[in-house]
Amino acid sequence: MKWVRRGAMAFLVAVFAASMLANFIAPASYAYQFRELPDAAPSSQHWLGTDDLGRDRLSRLLYGTRVSLLLAPAAALVSCALAAAIGGAAGFAGGWLESAVMAATDLVLSLPWLFLLITVRAFLPLNVAPIASVAITFALLGCLGWAAAARVVCADARTLKNSEIALLARATGSGGLRLLWRHMVPNLKPVLYAQFWISIPVFILTEANLSILGLGVAEPLPSWGGLLRELEDLTSFSAQPWLFAPLILLVLTVSCFHVVVREEEMWG
């Protein structure tokens, strides 16, 4: 299965590189409107056609990929940092702190994910600039997605605290912050890496759901969710098959993330 993981990694690198080079390889800016060509079918000029405002779909796909692929990992980084701080501190300290943190984790995990997100999103202003909407969407994902990872980190930190590594470190005089920083944190890295990779596809899919519902990234900035909203106007699969390009790219990318994260890490 090694070659499958390598292939998935290569695909992710290629998609990431293409989205980063969007400024150079995209036929136009994501917001540029070819007013004489609204709703155009694919052609040599516009490989995926244009939308109802005459914007080049391929350009919007490339820029939208950049938004999703840059900000989902950023949100995953935030959620992992929170999980490390909260779960790590709880597991290391134990006692009432661990019980309190686990109770808070239970509360967050018992809230259906999308309900929680749209509730918190609604508390913030909805009519904001596109850039602000991107920041709000992914900041919410990062700040609210820590609970599952914190639970895993807490369990690992508890095991580490009672391990021989910690015992030896204590015997050589390490304690408190030094024990935490020098011996616990490096040993928590593998679990944090795994949680980071697991969170990325979750956040990509959540952004897509939120944007399709009109609560995610605001127009004219493209994102995979925003581009998928065009499917709402479709009457049959064969009518405009090129509208499925964002969906195919999203499914392939999320699948590759799932392949890269080993199966046992995902499903226990």
């Binding site: 109770a103 239970d106 509360l107 995990l109 018992s110 809230l111 259906p112 994910w113 999308l114 309900f115 929680l116 749209i118 509730t119 918190v120 999103r121 609604a122 508390f123 913030l124 202003p125 909805l126 596809p201 899919l205 897509a208 759901n209 399709i212 519902l213 009109g214 609560l215 969710g225 998928l228 499917l231 709402e232 479709l234 009457t235 049959s236 699969f237 969906l247 999203l250 499914v251 999320v254 699948s255 799932h258 046992e264 995902m266 499903w267 226990g268």
Partner: protein, 298 residues
């Protein structure tokens, strides 16, 4: 004899009261958090009426007082709890209807969708997981795994849109969201149980597939599968939002979305609290049912 029978019952009652206390604490904390967010949200208490240039400062102040816009956080929460104890959930700001009435109208629709979705997701997920673990050729496992992996990569909202295009019943989408999660977890749990020494011994003694599965594999995996049942309720309710919005099903998922788009915060907080209560109760029931099995195994 009586004390021997009474002990597990007492333990169960203690456990049950512990769970009820936990749910109450979580709801009180969640309610406080929700009330805090509503009270502190930008624009709380403002009303277009105040923009009327003919109104004096005193009149605007009186209007704000009447709406409770100047209320402090503690008194806001106290009023919220007081109303809640009396069974009042307040009034929707955008729909101008009591939240209780809206819930009564829309809850049956969501219960139907979620119930059907859970039933479909579990039947398909568990059946295919069992087939994948028990099948000798492995084709069933690979095919089901592939289908589950693809479904896992498609956002619920897109699945709902695809169902709208083919004019299929939107309720089935919840089943497709629940299915891959159930399949993956159940397959791993059953595979782990199937590799245990007592199962290998049973097979070596010539027991048939069905008997090995029912008598030796499922009982071992049952507690974790029950825990998964509790979690799947939360998954199904989350999937209900995009499904009800895009397939135009008038349930509480659609109501929550309308409340979010209209920034109807009191309605949204009440809906979230109710869904949280349902998922907490589902998790508690799953936990209580799984507990005696785990104790029995131990």
């Amino acid at each position: 004899m009586g004390s021997v029978v009474g002990k597990p019952r007492r333990r169960l009652v203690r456990k049950l009261s512990g769970h009820v206390a936990r749910i109450l604490v979580v709801l009180l904390a969640g309610g406080f958090l929700g009330a805090t967010l509503v009270r502190l949200a930008p624009g709380y208490g403002t009303n277009p009426e105040e923009l009327d240039s003919r109104l004096s400062a005193a009149s605007i102040q009186a209007l704000r007082q009447a709406r409770g816009a100047n209320e402090g956080l503690a008194s806001f929460y106290a009023h919220y709890l007081e109303r809640l104890v009396r069974g009042g959930l307040g009034e929707s700001q955008t729909l101008n209807e009591p939240v209780r009435q809206l819930l009564a109208e829309r809850f049956p629709e969501t219960l139907q969708s979620v119930g059907l979705g859970l039933a479909l997701g579990w039947m398909a997920g568990l059946a295919l997981a069992m087939a994948a673990v028990m099948s000798r050729t492995g084709i069933a496992g690979v095919a089901a795994g592939l289908l589950a992996s693809i479904l896992l990569c498609v956002p619920a909202a897109v699945l709902a849109l695809l169902f709208v295009i083919v004019q299929a019943p939107g309720r089935l989408v919840i089943g497709l969201i629940v299915f891959p999660n159930i399949f993956h977890y159940a397959r791993n749990l059953l595979a782990r149980a199937a590799a245990m020494p007592h199962v290998l011994t049973a097979r070596a003694k010539g027991l048939g597939n069905a008997r090995v599965l029912l008598r030796h594999i499922l009982p071992v995996a049952a507690p974790q599968l029950l825990a998964l049942a509790g979690v799947s309720v939360s998954m199904a309710f989350a999937a209900a939002i995009p499904v009800e919005v895009l397939c135009d099903l008038p349930g509480i998922g659609q109501l929550a979305w309308k409340a979010a788009m209209g920034r109807d915060l009191p309605l949204l907080v009440n809906l979230t609290m109710i869904v949280t209560l349902i998922t907490l109760v589902a998790n508690t029931v799953a936990d209580l049912v799984a507990q005696p099995r785990q104790a029995g195994e131990a």
